[in-house]
């Protein structure tokens, strides 16, 4: 059994932008009347993207209020799905696939290489706050194994050289983009 300790937001403001609020109002219309709870997963994705990269208790309470459901209904969902981070993460989450098809195509070696390169273990964040390393299960890209995702962006047919280039690119990108809140993912929902 895994117990999650929920984080608070330490007085930081928890509020969606006007633009996101508009998207949420549109989103709720996708579902029948009185079933706005259906919008919970997409709204939690938005919250994670826009409100700091992880779901704190404050953020979840805020989402509960928006969708007019009880906070526990948000907690139980947020703790079930692996894409939701309940602890603070770095600017880039590196999710390496560790399931069978990737593993037999060099995925285990890639995992060891990235750990060594970043000098962290699974679940840890680098001291500069840039990278969080996570082992994830099958990403549905077994034909291009080994694969990883950086904040849901796929990188495939990995080799140590590609990992070197990717980490360099991400470091460059973080220098250009100083906005600590932005996780540079496109907004689709």
């Amino acid at each position: 059994m895994i117990y999650h300790r929920l984080h608070s937001n330490d007085n930081r403001k928890v509020e969606f932008s006007t633009e996101t609020m508009k998207r949420i109002r549109e989103l709720i219309l996708h579902y029948p009347e009185n079933h706005q709870k259906s919008a919970l997963l997409p709204v939690l994705h938005m919250a994670q993207e826009e409100l700091g990269g992880f779901l704190s208790a404050d953020v979840m309470d805020y989402v509960a209020e928006l969708l007019d459901i009880r906070p526990i209904e948000v907690y139980e969902v947020a703790t079930f799905y692996s894409m939701f981070n309940l602890d603070p993460v770095g600017k880039f989450t590196i999710d390496i696939c560790q399931t069978g098809p990737c593993a037999i195509c060099g995925g285990e070696e890639i995992m060891e290489y990235v750990k060594k390169k970043l000098n962290i273990e699974l679940g840890e964040t680098t001291s500069d706050g840039l990278f969080t390393l996570q082992g994830v299960e099958c990403l549905g890209a077994c034909g291009s194994a080994p694969v990883l995702q950086v904040n849901t962006e796929f990188h495939e047919f990995l080799t140590p050289e590609k990992i070197d280039a990717l980490l360099d690119d991400l470091r460059e990108l973080s220098k250009k983009n100083n906005d600590s809140k932005s996780r540079w993912v496109e907004k689709f929902f």
Binding site: P32, G100, I104, G140, T152, E186
Partner: protein, 451 residues
């Protein structure tokens, strides 16, 4: 070259765009269905085609549709299962990424046949870039009168919405998917009631896989009988196979059902043989859940017949010497693969993905993972091997949903066909545990046949 029904247009530059898709004959089947056929006639064609669910279970689609409760005065829903998460399977990703309009075409016709006015595509959250592709395609379809109110001037209305999951294999199980779509944890429901009677929001619902629904357009275009003429016996039509592992050409291939497994693995048109000139050791032909078979048994049945890519031929011999076509996630292992390590890996996957509702699955997958870990890392006991068989047997058939079975089969089949390798791990703790020790085991291997 094999026949292309689903992937016919895949090579056309810019085919993701509505205008190019339409100019190449796209959406003709929607025009045909809505303008010249009744919903019952569309369903009849799908039944005649013999199409079977492409998500893994292989249940006849026409029959599933016929169960939908059409009498009740309530909304009905069609939900497209795009939660593709079965290890080894990546065909739906390919379809949605390269041919989004083919899926939308199938969704429109299927919704029309089922009398559905709202359709959801439940897609796994990790496929975020595909959500954008699908949404663009849906927007284009709305702009061109193929979605929205009064489709093509007929009285029929349809809306399609894309709904993201958030990382949970179990949501590929249809009732867990519905729970998730309602904004809850992905815990499978007890059946009955089946979704056809009580599904999304308690309303009659059909849940079908992406590939299944994408096939409906071509079936209407070519007629159910013409589709049924392809394939072999009750395995009609073509199927997408996503091939991966230690092969020369991993990728998504469309095959006529009935193709010999040997041709699929060794012909240049498909897998292109085993990578680095090695020999074939084992295959998991239908996604990680189906039983693993050693080289000899995947190429020929125990009765000595050529093994074919059909639901029936792959299952020949039952669980003693057969396996399943499943989702078409074809994972190939070369002679250096370690079966114990792979089994431990898959079991860790199922332990991680178990929703936790049923004790046999929640506890059993964890026990199996721990035992396999210790065998793989040189701390196993000989009695562990039978203990694993016993646990797997007690999970199978005792859970609400098939995840329990899916976790048990890889373990029991690996021990059934590769028991020697498990024993070797127990007897030689000094050599196992490292990432790659399959080659060493091969050099000690007395009995397993390679091809």
């Amino acid at each position: 070259m094999g026949r292309k029904i689903l992937l016919e247009k895949a090579g056309i530059p810019g085919i993701r765009e509505f205008t190019i898709y339409r100019a190449n004959g796209g959406y003709e089947s929607v025009v045909k269905a809505l303008k010249s056929m009744t919903p019952a006639e569309v369903s009849q064609e799908v039944t005649l085609s013999g199409l079977r669910g492409r998500g893994g279970a292989g249940f006849p689609t026409g029959l599933k549709w016929s169960f939908l409760d059409r009498k009740r005065d309530s909304p009905r829903y069609l939900v497209c299962n795009a939660d593709e998460s079965e290890p080894g399977t990546f065909k739906d990703r390919y379809l949605m990424e390269f041919l989004p309009h083919l899926l939308i075409e199938g969704l429109i016709i299927s919704s029309y046949a089922l009398g559905v006015n709202t359709c959801y595509i439940y897609i796994r959250g990790e496929f975020k870039h595909i959500i954008g592709i699908l949404q663009n395609a849906i927007n284009e379809a709305y702009r061109n009168g193929f979605l929205g109110n009064k489709l093509l001037g007929t009285p029929y209305n349809l809306d399609i919405f894309v709904h993201p999951g958030a990382g949970a294999y179990i949501c590929g199980e249809e009732t867990a998917l519905l729970e998730s779509l309602e904004g809850k944890r992905g815990n499978p429901r007890i059946k009955p009631p089946f979704p056809a009677y009580k599904g999304l929001y308690g309303c009659p619902t059909v849940v079908n896989n992406v590939e299944t629904l994408a096939t409906v357009g071509p079936i209407i275009e070519m007629s159910g009988a013409a589709y049924a003429a392809i394939g072999k016996g009750k395995s009609t039509g073509t199927k997408l196979i996503s091939a991966c592992g230690n092969i020369n050409h991993p990728g998504v291939y469309e095959i006529d059902l009935g193709l010999p497994v040997e041709d699929f693995i060794y012909s240049e048109e498909y897998c292109g043989g085993i990578r680095n000139g090695k020999r074939l050791k084992a295959v998991v032909p239908g996604g990680s859940s189906v039983p693993v078979l050693p080289a000899e048994l995947i190429l020929r049945t125990a009765g000595g017949r050529q093994r074919l890519m059909t639901y029936e031929s792959l299952a020949e011999g039952g669980f003693d010497s057969g396996t399943m076509l499943g989702s078409g996630g074809f994972i190939v292992y070369d002679e250096d693969a370690c079966i114990v390590r792979n089994t431990w890996n898959f079991t860790r996957f199922y332990h991680h993905e178990s929703c936790g509702q049923c004790s046999p699955c929640r506890e059993g997958t964890g026990w199996m993972e721990k035992i396999l870990y210790r065998i793989e890392h040189g701390n196993g006991k000989m009695s562990d091997i039978d203990l694993l068989v016993s646990i797997a047997g007690k999970i199978e058939g005792t859970t609400i949903c098939p995840l329990g079975d899916a976790a048990a089969w890889p373990v029991s089949s690996a021990i059934r066909h590769f028991r020697w390798e498990f024993e070797y791990h127990v007897e030689h703790p000094e050599v196992v545990g490292a990432i790659s020790h399959g080659a060493l085991i091969r050099s000690q291997e007395p009995s397993i046949q390679y091809r």
